[in-house]
Amino acid sequence: GAGGRPDENEGGAAEVGVTEDSVKVGAHFPLTGVAAPGYSAIPTGAKAYFDYVNANGGVHGRTIDYVFRDDAYNPTNTSQVVNELVLQDEIFAMVGGLGTPTHSAVLDFLNSNGVPDLFVSSGSLLWDQPEKNPMTFGWQPDYEVEGKIIGQYVKQNFPDAKVGLFLQDDDFGDDGEKGARAYIDDQIVAAERYAPGNTDVAPQIAALQASGADLVIGFNVPSYTALSQLTAMRSNYEPQWIYSNVGSDPALVGSLLGRFSEGKVTDASMLDGAITTEYLPGVDEADNPWTQLWQRIWDEHGGEGDLSNYRIYGMSQAYTFVQALQAAGPEPTREGIVDALEQVGQDLQGPALVPYRYSPDSHAGLSGVKVVQITGTTTKELSPVMVTDNGDAEITEYTEEHAPPPENGIPNVEPVG
């Protein structure tokens, strides 16, 4: 090294964050502030699953030590918190850090420090840049893929509908719009955007209503689903609603809106009949073996509160991480886990209905969704599971059976290489 400095990484010291009997991973979530409602539940789900795995012997004899910290959905905080995780807590990898603006603040830092940045909790396309950001992997279906599948569904099933878009004014809305326009550009009569944080959406709904749209596709977060429903109700606007997966969580939104019956408003389920997409079995599918597994784990290791789709989301991410860690072998390294994901990522079977797109050339997450309709507190399938990729890629039907979880609830992936 220059100036007589010793070179870095001398000797074969153990990998950061990995000891004989533990692996430390971290994440950042909004646990306080405006974005906390809903999202703060995700890490509690992940934690419950990791606890479950630890109670059952861990991965390669190591327990998973999961640290999550609050960034209040503020990127400057994220940067500090991730510094803390990487430099002070010395985590092995980042698992499921949440948010597009927040996580982009630490993208470079994680990559330049060689920290695996797995399964970002956001559907932005940013996480799929293996050249530039070799350590970062997406997880959920990105918004463009979802938009394409919804667009095609509308094209086929509502060919005459006048479509309005209700969009969050950032990448979420933009990517979704791009996907949808690929199929129904000519049907769209209005695209209204709301600024996240501004809770008055009456002007947007009024504009949609005025445009004559009789089908509205929303790429928005759950609270705005509720707000859009409430606002539409005021002016008796009743189009066919389609909400993206992120905003639809029927259990959450349904329960939120249902309660207004107490103030003698409407019947229980305002969201009844709305269309959305799914890629994970949710709490409403009590018969699904995956849901049963999550319920069991939550009952044993969860904290306060009930199992929710947010918690299932966290558990599913945790499940995927356990798979990756198993694939990385008994002596996991940061490089190793990334390599392993690139090699076997496409074949991983898990709670998701569709496969991941991981490969050396792609760090994109899940490849598709199925379209469903909300009926009461559960959902009815409207389309088979569809998969596709970004850009011009075709939408195809995914026909493989969704495998049930392993007996003991813990995956068993062979180490790579």
């Binding site: 609050d70 503020n74 400057t76 500090q80 803390e84 982009s104 603040a105 950032d170 990448d171």
Partner: protein, 373 residues
């Protein structure tokens, strides 16, 4: 009534600049020691503290010395951060140039804001600057093509040049990590800013600003151009905020609207007041509190066995309580306590310094000219 010249000389300055420079040099040595001896994580915390502190010292000049409250300094930091972001894109420019540009652009913004604010007082000024804090990030969303919308601008922070790393290694045998380098940039800037502000405060401008704060009419009668001095204070303060924004952009590696919410502006104000209004040292203390207290509290919460979510809520709770308690127990802020202790010490030694009256209400209502002080 003739003045003994010896007494006169006692009040002549013995090179203010020399004294300030010496203090800052000593501080510089301390900074090098601290940065070299602490972990990369502490380095990064200190880097964070540096940008809070740069903005806070600027704000304390505006609010403490000139009596103009600003709830919108976060917005000015945003101007600095975005300027830096645009200039550092594709590493088009060496970072000191970008910082300088950020400072200048923000100072110009400060002229505009300051001119609008010059006629406002008390809650009206608070309201206008609050609206500024909330409104300005909207610009970034509106011009999302240029400014990256909600996602903001990603910024590649400067890497330590070899000569610097080698020089520091030669001096301290410490490795130059990126976090440490950023902390050096931040603290270097901070010390420079503090030196210059200390010069200003000790001289004519500090005096005039305080005079304007205490009694506008009397100041005007003494020939002070109120509007100009108030705008100047705003510009100086904005320039600091611009530099702070530039450091923030490099340390956080991002300039995004959600980084410049009203919370940031309010945090700066609390830092300034809790530290001790009008005092540069107080602003530093307040910034330290801002950076070091919340994580410490979260850790304590976790140690006490609280769930992660609850431990996270504990931090703002304790922070809020600390603000309240400090204001109740030490209305002059931390520096107020220090001053009182020093004063008591001096009196104990029997010298009896000048006593400072308790600061009065600022700018509320008309002053009753018919009365006596």
């Amino acid at each position: 009534m003739s003045a003994p010249t010896a007494a006169a000389r006692r009040f002549l300055p013995s090179s203010v600049f020399g004294r300030n420079l010496l203090t800052v040099l000593v501080a510089l040595v301390a900074v090098v020691l601290v940065l070299e001896l602490t972990s990369p994580f502490r380095n990064s915390q200190l880097a964070t503290m540096s940008y809070y502190a740069i903005a806070a010292v600027g704000l304390t000049v505006l609010t403490g010395l000139n009596g103009q409250i600003s709830l919108g300094h976060g917005a000015l930091m945003a101007v600095g951060a975005y300027t830096t972001g645009l200039l550092l894109e594709n590493e088009a420019m060496p970072f000191p140039v970008a910082m300088l540009a950020a400072m200048v652009v923000t100072a110009v913004a400060g002229i505009v804001v300051g001119a609008a604010a010059a006629r406002l007082h008390g809650p009206y000024l608070a309201g206008a600057t609050l609206a500024l804090a909330v409104g300005v990030p909207g610009i970034a969303i509106y011009f999302d093509g240029l400014l990256g919308g909600e996602q903001g601008l990603r910024i590649s922070s400067p890497t330590p040049p070899d000569w610097f790393a080698d020089a520091m290694y030669f001096l301290t045998a410490g490795e130059m990590t990126s976090a440490r380098y950023l902390a050096y940039i931040g603290w270097g800037t901070l010390l420079l800013v503090v030196l210059l502000l200390a010069n200003l405060i000790a001289g004519r401008y500090g005096r005039i600003w305080r005079a304007v704060r205490d009694d506008e009419i009397a100041a005007e009668l003494a020939g002070v151009r109120l509007g100009r001095m108030r705008v100047l204070a705003f510009v100086v303060s904005a320039a600091c905020a611009g530099l702070a924004g530039a450091v923030l952009a490099m340390v956080v590696r991002l300039a995004a609207p959600s980084g410049f919410t009203i919370v940031l502006s309010l945090a700066l104000l609390t830092a300034v007041v809790v530290g001790g209004l009008g005092s540069l040292g107080g602003a530093l203390l307040g910034s330290a509190l801002l950076v070091f207290l919340p994580p410490a509290v979260t850790d304590i919460g976790t140690d006490l066995g609280m769930s992660g979510v609850q431990a996270a809520q504990l931090a703002p709770f304790v922070y809020g309580v600390v603000l309240v308690v400090v204001m109740l127990a030490a209305p002059g802020g931390v520096m107020g306590i220090v001053r009182r202790l020093r004063h008591a010490g001096r009196r104990a030694r029997g010298r009896g310094g000048p006593s400072r009256p308790a600061a009065g209400k600022q700018g509320v209502g008309a002053t009753d000219q018919g009365g006596r002080g």
